[in-house]
Amino acid sequence: MTVETKEKTRDRQAWMGLLGRAEARDLARLWEGFGPLPAHEILRAPEIGGVMLRGRMGAVGDAFNMGEMSVTRCSVRLTDGPDGHAYVQGRSRDKALQAALTDALMQSDAADEVRAKLLDPLAEIESQRRASRAAKAAATKVDFFTMVRGED
């Protein structure tokens, strides 16, 4: 893989991850502001399924199966354009379709607009939510100190 394709892959992984983690209602609201869905053909209609989640023994050892997570996947092709794929958490068919279209548009000439109107606001929502939780957690940070016991 060339440096350029590696970078492209990393970029795509970042937006696909953002779409996967996003709340369905946030993505739906942003798409409403973005406009009607672009002309497309469905390669794989939104399909609900499960993915087995794995942990590691002792956090670092061999893998073990924990349980599944609900996931919806979808694939589209823009008319005269690239394919878009989505694997997103939850059971929202709309979210999966919107995520697949976003993925396709991000590989088209509309990428800059999509990034500005969909991905950047989505990233902002996520980073605010994370920052707020982290700041609340930080407010509960303690320093325990050991008392000398009363007995001799």
Binding site: R54, F64, Y87
Partner: protein, 367 residues
């Protein structure tokens, strides 16, 4: 033996209609929404997700509503739904080292690097009923640290003992884990299967087993080296893309215990570890899982079998699943008329024989 019966359709329909009405309760009281259960009965939702083996807070909340708050019935509904889902694949093993921790405490190191973070805990509450909750009342937002968020990643505390070589190491041999939802559990069960059975096992059962080890059955004095709760990314390899992407994130509770170990024929004296990892904020379950995991490791660590229940993999693993247990337990309330008829015949016959023998006995004695 259960023998099929026919009939009673109308009675069954009416019973279910009444169940729906009872589920709704007093119609003058506002109905619960699934979103309310999801947001305000979070720990019940977490338990149903963990024991139902499906991370989906909306479905777990729906199941709790449908089951009238009977969490084992809700787990049953989730397990039944889960079997209808096509499986797209498996995630990469989740990296809890990258967890965004809401809570992180250590009972072994007070100066844990990265600090001790209490998070939204019941610890240090007085366990007094709060009658303010019975009245309406908005809660003010929780304080945020003025300096904002700390560095995102906190290293696992176990790593520091690992470095000194005092800790038995868990290593990654890249072996694919077996899945007890795809093949029946067979003994001896490897640790991957034991951990899967424990993480989806009944919280009360796993707690009881863990407690028994603390009280002296297979004594393994455990310290909680670290307990952490927070969100972890789920990453999966996508065949049509040829690379991995994050497909979501889940809340997990992880517990690592460190246990005394005097050494054995095969291992030098060192600390050993027990491990718990559970969906959602499920602290009691994660600690319990770690203790039972450690007790079940006696054989691979070369310890003695003390004959304790928590060391008995067959006993623990075959009784931890509350859906299997409920299914077998509750089937005895279903019609067993034919079975019981034969039991009745048998007991009558035995009594006739016993009575006849009693009548004969004094006569024999007299003769």
């Amino acid at each position: 033996m259960y023998v099929a019966v026919k009939g009673g359709e109308r009675a069954i329909d009416n019973a279910h209609a009444w169940l729906s009405e009872e589920r709704r309760g007093d119609a003058s009281v506002t109905e619960l929404s699934v979103a309310q259960i999801r947001e305000q009965m979070t720990l019940a939702v977490n338990r149903v997700m963990a024991e139902g083996s499906l991370y989906d807070p909306d479905l777990a909340a729906l199941a709790i509503k449908q089951a009238r708050g009977d969490l084992i019935e809700a787990v049953f509904l989730i397990r039944a739904y889960r079997t209808t889902l096509p499986r797209f694949g498996a995630s990469r093993p989740m990296d809890t080292g990258t967890m965004a921790c809401d809570r992180r405490v250590s009972a072994t190191f007070k100066d844990a690097p990265g600090g001790q973070v209490l998070g939204p805990t019941f610890d240090y509450t007085h366990r007094l009923l709060d009658f303010k909750l019975a009245a309406d009342g908005e809660v003010p937002p929780a304080p945020e640290a003025p300096e904002g968020a700390p560095p995102a990643k906190a290293p696992h505390i176990m790593e520091f003992l690992d470095r000194e070589g005092l800790m038995q190491r868990d290593t990654d041999s890249k072996t694919l884990p077996r899945d007890l939802t795809r093949e029946p559990l067979e003994l001896p069960a490897t640790r991957d299967l034991r951990l899967q059975a424990l993480t989806r096992g009944d919280e009360g059962f796993v707690l009881g087993m863990a407690y028994s080890t603390q009280r002296g059955y297979a004594r393994n004095h455990a310290f909680v080296a670290e307990l952490r709760i927070g969100k972890v990314a789920v990453e999966m390899d996508i065949p049509e893309l040829g690379f991995a992407i994050e497909i979501g994130e889940v809340e997990l509770t992880e517990c690592e215990t460190v246990n005394q170990f005097a050494g054995s024929k095969t291992e030098p004296p060192q600390f050993t570890r027990g491990y718990g990892l559970v969906f959602g904020m499920s602290e009691r379950k994660a600690i319990s899982m770690a203790l039972v995991d450690r007790a079940l490791r006696w054989e691979e660590l070369g310890e003695d079998n003390l004959g304790a229940p928590a060391q008995d993999a067959e006993f623990v693993l075959y009784h931890a699943d509350n859906i299997q247990a409920t299914g077998f337990l509750e089937h005895i309330k279903l019609p067993h008329y034919v079975d019981f008829q034969s039991e009745l015949e048998l007991i009558r016959k035995l009594r006739r024989e016993a009575a006849a023998a009693a009548q004969d006995a004094p006569r024999e004695a007299a003769e």
